[in-house]
Assembly symmetry: C2
Homo-oligomer: 285 residues x 2
């Protein structure tokens, strides 16, 4: 194999539009991309313009064979997954062979299950990559991505939020925080970023937050936790995040540099511009 | 003055039933209690059986005079306060004299304002005390207060929650957390404990939390932040907290020893008993 040619990339696609977005960007960058659409989860028809095949989530044996026969050396797992119901898996022989490993992984929760699959792929000599490896342009960068440079007070809020998230990181919690005027007003745990932003909007509407006189004030800070595997669990924002940040009356978003995937990036940044929000990278180191 | 007699206690009462509960408990313990009901905030009629007077929140001068003339050496500030609208204060001469100090304190937020008032009182030789100083029986103690001793796994959850709250404490956030099966599922910031518990109940109802097979699982952890002034800002639970913990399907409550006021204690513990919840103290040190 010619060293200057990037290896074949298999995109194992779950639900949603993100797998297609990433596959398109990878193809545009010159990569040979094959889609493996998960049966009953991904919309296989959406990938008609890619080399693709459809596999059930239990067909681990067929997956390994397909990767080998098509010379796909890199694997990207992307899109939403609903937790598989083991009874409905219709496992193939390849899965059954790995069942003890996987059963052990299942008990540890979603992350552990995916880590178990990664381990099996890596043992076969495959390289599991993340969206940031394949399409770095979709990941939050150093520069101000959108809007005006935030004022010192707002950036102090961002750093304050970053500091508390870093302090919480060893406890595997704290995906994001909202800071307004030096005060941490919300911290995300199991509810998700959008629910947290809705809570801030609600607290504001009910006059429960003192937010100063500025029309917009405060910041959403979103970074990866230490040890978070960005290949399978990358923090993500998109156009809806922007609308929710705007509804919460914040000034903008500070996103961990290299750690946050900006889904539908052109639309996301266009909406931020439209609402007068900044989107900036923050170094989480 | 005879050293064996406790000094006269002034209870400066805001809104709600807590000032009366504490005043009654203090009186029952043999203290001479005078109520200073804040005009338009406290229900003065509820204190007819106590020596009492009514003062506006701007009448600092009258307050200092009343404390001196009645030999009230200890002051307890308790009950809800709405942030005063300065324009409606009708300040007396005593307030005006202290206005520069107070104006400075106002800009720092509620805590700073109350700290400013405390400083003024302490400069006059008065002692500002907290509910825990006056009625220690209403504060979470070492022992299991109610229910069966939590299983090891549940107590591990409590300790995990305590650890994350301690890590967040330097950032002046994290009044409480909910931990289920080793996972921190919610952290309280500006929304309050009840709203956080409602969020957990909602996530559970929508199947967004994996909570194991037990009918009840997980714990609410509530402790003071380091540096929190328990005289004016004591973490509090009450009967409604218990109902919300039950609705969230948790096993019980772990409360910082000496740090959490249990309002309406007999009813609170009775409700916990009724719902099969434990209420236990946890050492936050």
């Amino acid at each position: 194999m010619n060293a200057s040619v990037a290896p074949g990339l298999a995109v194992i696609a779950g639900a949603g539009g993100l797998p297609r977005e990433i596959a398109e960007a990878a193809r545009a960058s010159g990569r040979a991309v094959t889609i493996i659409a998960l049966r009953g989860i991904a919309d296989a028809a959406a990938y008609a313009d890619f080399p693709h095949l459809v596999l059930g989530i239990g067909q681990l044996g067929s997956l390994l064979e397909a990767l080998a026969s098509r010379n796909l050396e890199e694997v990207l797992l992307v899109g939403s997954l609903t937790r598989p119901d083991i009874s409905g898996l219709m496992p193939d022989a390849g899965l059954l062979r790995h069942l003890p490993e996987l059963a052990k992984a299942m008990r540890g929760g979603d992350d552990q299950l995916l880590r178990g699959v990664i381990t099996i792929l890596e043992k076969r000599g495959l390289r599991v990559v993340g969206p940031g490896d394949v399409v770095p342009g979709l990941v939050a960068g150093v520069a101000l991505m959108c809007g005006r440079k935030p004022e010192t007070a707002i950036w102090d809020d961002a750093r304050h939020g970053l500091a508390v998230l870093q302090a919480m990181s060893p406890f595997d919690v704290g995906q994001a925080a909202v800071v307004i005027g030096g005060r941490i007003v919300a911290i995300e745990a199991a509810e998700g970023t959008d629910a947290m932003l809705a809570r801030v909007a609600d607290l504001k509407a009910r006059g429960k937050l003192r937010t100063g006189k500025a029309a917009r004030n405060g910041v959403l800070v979103k970074v990866a936790k230490s040890g978070q595997d960005l290949r399978i669990d990358m923090p993500t924002i998109g156009p809806d995040t922007i609308l929710n940040v705007a509804a919460a009356g914040l000034s903008g978003l500070a996103l961990g540099i290299g750690e946050v995937l900006v889904v539908n990036k052109s639309e996301t940044l266009a909406r931020a511009q439209e609402h007068g929000l900044f989107v900036a990278g923050i170094a989480n180191g």
